[in-house]
């Protein structure tokens, strides 16, 4: 069987999980295997309700009060127990922060591989091949599973499109008896919270000028600010710029920041690591300036400007001011 694990994100199925159901449906079909989908957590009724619309052989419900708050100990134990009793050929997840936190524990516990952060698969080769980005997205690698005892997979956002989801109804619904006690969970967890932002909602911005590591140092930030100002754009950044303290965290785009889809995304000195790209690939138009001709941002850019942003951006600002 093929098993897909749904993540409960504050009462809704995590969007990456929906995409991983699509992955599961395709893999199950290709290997002629039954597909089971797992709802796991404390209050799983809302996600169970949504999961009932997915075409699959079986919906498995695994609920326990100790899963109310997430813990790596609790969640990895459930998945280990499930894999032991179901022996799925592939156990599939969305590549979320939660999955990154506990699924390696399952891999080490069961000595089965975890192929993570997959961006595409090739089902037509003799062994299924999984592709992922490596070397800062400059290259991709093809990976094969060598284990006969099962394999864990996690799919990066947009590896599969939720539009391809096959709707239907599970043939059966099974309850999995969760064995979990207080002593299994070593950590104590506090409430989740959002850090106060200064009210900049980049997700509604029509135009964004975004700055990356290529800006070189903090003294050059005004170059991006001036260009944003003259275009009437919001200023944003990639993670390294925030890490170095050159711009505040609420300006950050990417998996740990905001997700945007402006009419124009003007990327200045951004290399295009996947963690950034997931937050801006929905932009209608992307202009990228980078002096590295091989920067991965150029693969998703509509206009690839190869050159020195420290020269080009000020000149562009000057020309725009003249208008």
């Amino acid at each position: 069987m093929i098993l897909v694990v749904l993540e409960n994100q504050r009462g809704k199925i995590h969007p990456f999980s929906v995409e991983s159901v699509v992955a599961g449906q395709k893999i199950a079909k290709s290997l002629n295997q039954p597909l089971s989908i797992l709802c796991v957590g404390d209050n799983i009724d809302p996600i169970h309700e949504s999961a009932k619309q997915f075409d699959c052989s079986e919906l498995i419900l695994a609920s326990h009060p100790l899963l109310k708050t997430y813990s790596a100990d609790g969640f990895s134990k459930i998945i280990v127990d499930l894999i032991k009793s179901y022996s799925p050929k592939y156990c599939i997840f969305g590549h979320s922060y939660m999955v990154r936190d506990y699924v390696p524990r399952v891999s080490a516990n069961l000595s089965i591989p975890f192929i993570s952060d997959i961006t595409s698969i090739n089902l037509s080769s003799q062994n299924i091949q999984f592709s992922k980005q490596v070397f800062n997205a400059k290259l991709s690698s093809r990976i094969e599973n060598e284990s006969t005892n099962g394999c864990l997979l996690s799919f990066q956002s947009a590896a599969f499109s939720a539009d391809e989801l096959i709707k239907g109804a599970p043939e059966k619904v099974t309850n999995f008896e969760v064995q979990l006690s207080d002593s299994d969970i070593r950590s104590t967890t506090e409430e989740e919270f959002q850090e106060s932002s200064s009210g900049v909602d980049l997700s509604t911005a029509e135009l964004i000028v975004s700055v990356g590591r290529g800006i070189d140092n903090q003294d050059n930030i005004p170059i991006a600010e001036e260009l944003a100002k003259v275009l009437g754009a919001e200023l944003a950044s990639s993670r390294p710029v925030v890490d170095m303290g050159w711009l505040p965290p609420f300006r950050q785009i990417g998996s740990s920041g905001q997700t945007v889809s402006p009419k124009l995304y003007f990327a200045l000195g951004i290399s295009g690591a996947i963690q950034h790209v997931v937050g801006m690939k929905g932009s209608k138009n992307i202009i990228a300036i980078n002096k590295d001709e091989e920067a991965p941002i150029f693969e998703i850019a509509d206009y690839a400007v190869i050159g020195d942003l420290l020269e080009i951006a000020p000149l562009l600002t000057e020309e725009l001011r003249k208008r």
Partner: protein
């Protein structure tokens, strides 16, 4: 307290990345190897904890790979203030994260570390798994993406980054393995005194061949990703590039008049 910091040597951002003739690795001869960025933050966090405790706590840098790639980042770690280093000398390029974690586990399990810190992800193969895998192997509690830490007598309180600007504090009993998010602190530069002192610090070399390596996933090939879009290239001198961008903004995108 004994703290291990996993540090990996990876190609610098500026390095040219070319696939070698085996199609399974990159041409190392044109690559400059540096410390993985988030590992540098992990090391700084460990050094800060040792300084805050002001007891006989110890920070140990652990690197795996060939000696020529790792020696520079080990020296740098010792110069910044790590007490000693363990080099797991491996000529073979192991890409399977569980094999890597198993090897490291075999090499360091007798050390009985209280804490293992690692960067959240390596910027080369980027599985983002080794810290957690190692934690499970050593029966430690684990957490990832730590953006703040507070050390307690036999526990560590960690602020964990969740998605889209959410955070959560959790407290883990020791021993614990924690992966550190970049941006958690300001990594220091080595002092001259530190550089001089590093020469006398211990670097234990272990040969990975003496441990078993049972590969569960294999990288069959590296390739150059294909372009998803019809990208229009704009290049030339800055002046002509700028006038071309202005045309795009005006005629293609209709953003300016």
């Amino acid at each position: 307290m004994k703290i291990a910091v996993l540090t990996k040597a990876i190609p610098s951002y500026e390095s040219l990345i070319r696939i070698d003739t085996s199609s399974k690795w990159i041409d190392d001869s044109i690559v400059n190897y540096v410390i993985n960025e988030s590992d540098a933050y992990a090391l700084e966090e460990a050094l800060k904890i040792r300084e805050s405790l002001a007891d006989n706590s110890e920070v140990v840098v652990v690197s795996m790979g060939s000696e020529d790639k790792c020696s520079k980042i080990i020296k740098d770690g010792l110069a910044k203030g790590a007490d000693r280093a363990i080099l797991i000398d491996s000529q073979e390029k192991i890409s399977d994260p569980l094999s890597i974690a198993t090897l490291i586990s075999d090499c360091i399990k007798d050390e009985q570390f209280d804490l293992v810190f690692s960067g959240l992800q390596s910027d080369d193969l980027g599985s983002g798994q080794v810290g957690v895998l190692l934690g499970e192997k050593l029966k430690m509690s684990t957490a990832t993406l730590a953006i703040e830490t507070q050390i307690q007598p036999s526990a560590i309180r960690v602020k964990r980054e969740l998605e889209s600007g959410w955070f959560q504090w959790l407290t883990l009993p020791l021993p614990a393995s924690i992966s550190i998010q970049s941006g958690i602190n300001n990594p220091r530069y080595p002092s001259l005194k530190g550089i001089m002192g590093a020469r006398n610090k211990e670097v234990a070399k272990l040969n990975s061949n003496q441990f078993s390596n049972n590969k569960l996933q294999s990288m069959v090939e590296l390739y150059i990703p294909s372009n998803e879009k019809q990208t229009k290239k704009i290049e030339g001198d800055s002046k002509s590039v700028v006038s071309r961008i202005l045309e795009v903004l005006k005629n293609d995108l209709r953003i300016i008049q």
